[in-house]
């Protein structure tokens, strides 16, 4: 890890005043220190926001809930109100990484963590996402890479919490000293590599992510998230599904079905959502929805449906099952899958 000046801030205004001269924000530092140890990020100045107590906490209101950017994933996953009203979020935050990482990792840092593609994480590979010409994954080791909507870079969306927050139609509050606050929906937070390979999110260098706002779910909403990894703990998802069902008895008025590790940017599965809308949830329909998700119309590229790489065709079989089981889990018709991450 390179040497750096650490600017420790205890107020939002103080931190905003320091976002200059190539400074990099540090929350818990789990993602940032990893990249610095790898030598792929070498900032000379870190703005430490970890001690800003005003950015920590879970605040329910009649409109929904606001979560401070520095709230840890454990604080979120253990919160009783979130567990009952926003199960998809507590499921997702509770299955990230390991228990100890969740005790440290902040919600803001989880949303803004950089790609996990091993070429990207290595100092030895100067790829497209580092402003160079090539992607090493297409002809290299790509078992954990994308199967949908990837275009030039098949690295997958790394943030587990983003899957839940997209399903819940949440927004982030971005704050800068000059321009004040702006709200950005999770669906607009991430930049697809084909649009700009070196810009991962719309966050500007002088902005802090200060809070996440989640609207109040409609009456009768039930939700769930399940993550499948190589191990039960420790790893990022190889397949995952977030499901939010607005129910009227056993009839689903409206569904949100979200996949994280299928594509470079976290995405809905509109074909699967359309299959559930207006119908009772049954095993058949849940299975059909899982399959439909793999037909996925392109959202960001011209790529129709799942198109696996040389080593990840297994994912095309995993996602439909993850989606099917998570729909039934959300609907209360099936228990939590013992083979999913816990």
């Amino acid at each position: 890890m390179n040497q750096f000046v650490l600017v420790d801030c205890t107020t939002v205004d103080g931190a905003l005043s320091q976002l200059k001269d190539g400074s990099v924000v540090k929350a818990a530092g789990v993602d940032l220190l990893d990249r610095m140890k790898n030598g792929t990020t070498t900032p000379s100045r870190l703005v430490n926001i970890r001690n800003i107590s005003a950015l920590r906490g879970i605040h329910p209101s009649p409109e929904g809930v606001t979560i401070g950017a520095l709230t840890t994933l454990t604080e979120i996953s253990e919160h009783p109100l979130l567990q009952s009203h926003y199960t998809i979020l507590t499921d997702a935050c509770g299955t990230v990484a390991t228990p100890h990482i969740r005790n440290m990792a902040t919600l803001g840092g989880n949303l803004l963590q950089e790609l996990q593609c091993w070429y990207f994480r290595s100092e030895e590979y100067e790829c497209l996402r580092k402003g160079k010409e090539i992607c090493f994954a297409f002809s290299g080791l790509n078992q954990y890479h994308a199967i949908m909507d990837y275009g030039t870079c098949p690295s997958v969306a790394p943030s587990t919490s983003a899957v839940a927050l997209l399903g819940l139609n949440a927004s982030v509050e971005l704050t800068s000293a000059k321009r004040g606050k702006r709200m950005v929906a999770i669906k607009d937070l991430y930049v697809h590599p084909d649009a700009n390979p070196t810009k991962f999110t719309v966050l500007e260098p002088d902005e802090l992510l200060t809070a996440v706002m989640i609207p109040q779910p409609a009456k009768g909403t039930r939700s769930a998230y399940q993550k499948y990894g190589e191990k039960q703990s420790n790893d990022w998802a190889i397949a995952d599904a977030g499901v939010v069902l607005e129910m009227d008895g056993n009839v689903c008025r409206k569904a949100a079905i979200v996949m994280g590790s299928a594509s470079p940017v976290v995405r809905h599965a509109p074909e699967a959502e359309a299959m559930l809308a207006g119908k009772p949830i049954t095993e058949e329909i849940a299975r059909a929805a899982g399959k439909a998700a793999m037909q996925g119309a392109p959202l960001q590229t011209a790529m129709q449906g799942a198109q696996p790489l040389s080593m990840n065709a297994y994912k095309v079989q995993m996602f439909p099952i993850a989606i099917y089981r998570t729909i039934l889990l959300a609907a209360g018709q099936m228990g939590r899958d013992p083979s999913a991450a816990s």
Binding site: M1, D8, C9, T10, G29, D34, T98
Partner: protein
């Protein structure tokens, strides 16, 4: 380990326990003595010798800004060594470190407290687990400066508490280790669990240790030891792994 190069003479530090050390040596009374000696010796060899610290105000919650004109609530440190005050196992420790120093490195290299192990140095194995305000965290992914103002408890400190001691005794009784490299992290994790949940089920123990990797596969014994330390299992339980 690819942490920062810190100013110390490693040949002067007490050697790491490693593979050859017996369980008795690692966890029994003897360790306390070794650690204390190493502790004092370590303090002597760090760049943060007393002379260097004289006149310098150690960085604590109340400390003043180090340099530059900054608005309220903004303090700048480094890139060179700065004096930092940590609360480790109930004692105040002043060390002189660069801001890039991780908590694991500060303990092992600056304070000669080598009970905390570093294996992956990336947050992926939890060998480096210690408690910050009773919450288990990975010290390899935490800057030492971020521990200022918090109570740090390491495996060395656990030996002195009664819950910690009974957990260590249960690990010994169940022979819950082979090479021992994951053991301090496991013991920290399991005793933190009992603080939060004094009567866990085996599933609770499995979930709590889900991030602690043991290459030797001692998990069943670790679960049994933890349940016994919690007083929720038959102490004569057998191991079938």
């Amino acid at each position: 380990m690819s942490g920062p190069k810190l100013p110390h003479d490693s040949s002067d530090l007490p050697q790491d326990s490693g593979v050859a050390q017996t369980a008795e040596n690692k966890l029994g009374k003897g360790t306390t003595g070794i650690t204390r000696r190493g502790f004092l010796k370590g303090a002597g060899v760090t760049a943060a010798g007393t002379a260097l610290l004289e006149g310098a105000r150690a960085f604590g919650r109340e400390a003043a800004a180090t340099r530059g004109e900054h608005p309220e609530g903004v303090r700048e440190f480094g890139p060179g060594p700065v004096a930092v005050t940590l609360q480790v196992n109930g004692k105040e420790r002043v060390i002189h470190i660069e801001p890039r120093t991780t908590l694991a490195d500060a303990l092992r290299l600056e304070m000669a407290m080598t009970g905390t192990k570093v294996v992956c140095d990336r947050g992926a194995c939890s060998a480096c687990t210690l408690l910050m305000d009773d919450i288990p965290i990975n010290s390899c992914m935490t800057l030492a400066i971020d521990a200022v103002g918090h109570q740090v408890t390491t495996i060395e400190g656990l030996t002195e508490s009664s819950e910690g001691h009974s957990m260590q005794a249960a690990f010994l009784k169940h022979d819950a280790m082979q090479c021992g490299f994951c053991t301090p992290g496991m013991v920290m994790t399991c005793s933190a669990l009992l603080k939060k949940n004094p009567k866990p089920t085996e599933d609770d123990v499995r979930l709590a240790t889900a991030g602690n990797l043991c290459r030797c596969g001692t998990y069943p014994r670790i679960f049994a030891a933890t349940l016994e330390a919690a007083g929720v299992s038959d102490s004569e339980s057998t191991h079938n792994a």
